[in-house]
């Protein structure tokens, strides 16, 4: 009886703690999701409505089609404000995804090639090259912001995908090479040697044997590259000028810091921006957790 009671208490305590943490983690995201289904007039009423009284998808409608929500037509004491920038969210989403996917693919290809050579081959200057790669990340990003701007400007790549992609590659490649090298080293070398004896080239060994075995590592490295590029703000702000290449964080910041911003449209923009990272975190949960541990564990 006593033991059973204590067990029940322990279970109850654990669940209570779980609920508290879940609330802290999820409530902010759920609240902004909730807000995106409320009209501007409803968001301005006080006390705030925990659940939308007149749920509406008009905010999403405005962002995608430009149809001004009915709630904005309410005048009088309530101001009707429409954030024009919010209309740029779909294009910014597209820009973000294009840049992030490109960075991910280049990381996977170039990173895997280089990492495999670092993992298995012996050649002069190997340690030097490797330390150079890692050392390049020691300077805080903000210290090289101006030089990066001048380089990208000199190459005529301001406000282009290519400029952003190049800069993000310099931030992500060292990590990818480091991460994949360590991953490749954990694989059994015997199969590769057998394939070499059978006349396979190193490239064939990498593509046909190593990469299939290292798929989880490749996914983790790719996911990190994607997330970094998708989330990055400072350099995106610096290197883009128009919606031709502006990524989501830049557009979100301009929507949200506009003093006359529409609340409903800000919330809706944020919700749209949350979709890709949410899908990523849910889909690659295992890989991300494992990759994160491997990444931090080797400082």
């Amino acid at each position: 009886m006593n033991v059973a009671w204590r067990k029940l208490c322990r279970k109850g305590g654990l669940w209570a703690a779980t609920v508290v943490v879940l609330f802290f983690v999820l409530a902010p995201m759920l609240w902004i999701l909730d807000s995106s289904f409320q009209g501007e007039n409803e968001l301005l009423t006080r006390p705030s409505h925990l659940l939308p009284q007149q749920p509406t998808v008009e905010n999403f409608g405005y962002i995608f089609t430009g149809t001004i929500p009915r709630s904005f037509e309410v005048t009088g004491t309530l101001r009707s404000r429409v954030s024009q920038e919010a209309r740029e969210v779909p294009q910014a989403l597209e820009n973000s995804v294009i840049v992030a996917v490109a960075v991910t693919i280049v990381n996977a290809v170039l990173g895997a090639l280089a990492a495999y050579s670092f993992a298995r081959l012996r050649f002069a200057g190997k340690t030097l090259a490797f330390n150079f790669l890692l050392g390049s990340r020691l300077l805080p990003a903000i210290a090289v912001a101006i030089p990066y701007y001048t380089i990208v400007n000199a190459a005529n790549l301001l406000d282009t995908y290519t400029g952003l992609i190049l800069v993000y590659l310099t931030f992500t490649l060292p990590f990818t090479v480091w991460f994949l090298r360590d991953y490749f080293q954990t694989l059994p070398e015997e199969i590769e040697e057998a394939a070499l004896v059978d006349g396979c080239s190193r490239l064939q060994v990498l593509v046909r044997i190593v990469l299939p075995l290292a798929a989880p590592g490749l996914v983790a490295a790719g996911a990190f590259a994607f997330m970094f590029s998708y989330n990055e703000f400072l350099f995106a702000l610096l290197l883009t000028q128009t919606i031709k290449s502006q990524t989501l964080p830049v557009i979100l910041a301009s929507v949200a810091t506009n003093p006359d911003a529409s609340l409903a449209l800000t919330a809706t923009s944020v919700v749209l921006a949350m979709v890709p990272p949410l899908l990523f975190a849910l889909g690659f949960q295992r890989f991300l957790a494992r990759g994160l541990v491997a990444a931090l564990g080797r400082v």
Binding site: T170, F233, A289, V299
Partner: protein, 311 residues
């Protein structure tokens, strides 16, 4: 003679191996070349250029004067109106947010390490804030904490805990705390997942023996878990210190450095020098000073880590 024959017989395979080795070397260099080129273009030149900027007068409003000023820009930074305050703000932010992130991470990791269904749900959910762009995290918290239409004030008022709106982001002290809150929300998950891996690496027999000896929960935690978690804790400490010390996105979106520069961290001024005061020379000098200070902190931590590791 016999030796020569033997040598002849040996030569061909050795030759083949050597040419194979050199072909592999060429392959290795070819595979490294693209990566090294990208990195070299975006590291050697930028560092040299930043160093050049920091030693010259580089003021965009005075575009024809780029004379050498020696350490003048560094002296400017030391004499600037913001240095003392922003360094203080940064240290306060680091000292508040890093322990908060670590305590959150440790508690959640301990919870996740328990065998019950909730742990599975929580493990998936807890990663979500970390996956968000910091800009999104910042907007979400700004949204909740807004004194006018924010949900937090609304709920507190309805529960009659407060009677007038609290200006979470426009009171200097509260704004600092708000920033820490957002930082814990965004960075805590990473600490939790990493420390969970550390907890899992502790063999269960270690606990079994202690339990047989009749050790209590706290005693087990304090004498076994915590010492064995030392290395992962230190790594999280290093990583989170760096992240907190160069925090920019959250400040940009949540407070814009305000109110009254209360949340203007050093990285904020590295940005302001360049983009508001358009003084590239001072900006570069400040960036180097930040980099140097960070390097000192990291080396200090690593020294501690090294001296701990043999145990």
């Amino acid at each position: 003679m016999g030796n020569l024959v033997a040598a002849e017989a040996v030569r061909p395979p050795r030759l083949r191996r050597r040419s194979g080795r050199s072909r592999e070397t060429v392959y290795a260099y070819l595979t490294l070349l693209p990566v090294l080129l990208v990195i070299a273009a975006f590291s050697l030149y930028p560092i040299l250029y930043a160093a050049y900027l920091s030693l010259h007068k580089e003021l965009l409003t005075d575009p024809n004067d780029h004379h050498f000023v020696g350490l003048g820009n560094y002296i400017n930074v030391f004499h600037s109106f913001y240095l003392v305050d922003s360094v203080t703000s940064t240290i306060v932010f680091v000292v508040m947010s890093v322990p908060a992130v670590m305590i959150f991470g440790l508690l959640v990791a301990l919870l996740l390490n328990q065998a019950f269904a909730g742990a599975t749900v929580l493990r998936v959910a807890v990663l979500l804030p970390w996956a968000m762009p910091p800009i999104v995290s910042g907007i979400i918290w700004r949204w909740i904490l807004n004194d006018d239409y924010g949900i937090l004030n609304s709920i507190l008022r309805q529960l009659s805990i407060i009677h007038y709106a609290i200006p979470w982001l426009s009171n200097p002290q509260l704004a600092r705390v708000a920033l820490v809150f957002a930082q814990v929300w965004h960075e805590g998950p990473l600490a939790a997942i990493f420390l969970l891996a550390g907890l899992r690496a502790i063999p269960t027999e270690t606990y079994g023996a202690a339990r047989v000896d009749g050790a209590g929960w706290w005693s087990i935690f304090y004498h076994i878990t915590l010492p064995l978690l030392r290395a992962p804790l230190l790594l999280v400490l290093i990583y989170e210190t760096i992240v907190a010390a160069v925090t920019f996105d959250l400040v940009y979106i949540m407070t814009g450095g305000g109110p009254a520069n209360a949340t203007a961290l050093v990285s904020w001024f590295a940005y302001t020098e360049v983009f508001k005061f358009v003084n590239l020379g001072n900006g570069a000098a400040l960036a180097f000073l930040i980099a140097a200070a960070l390097l000192v902190v990291i080396l200090g931590y690593l020294r501690v880590l090294r001296s701990e590791s043999p145990r």
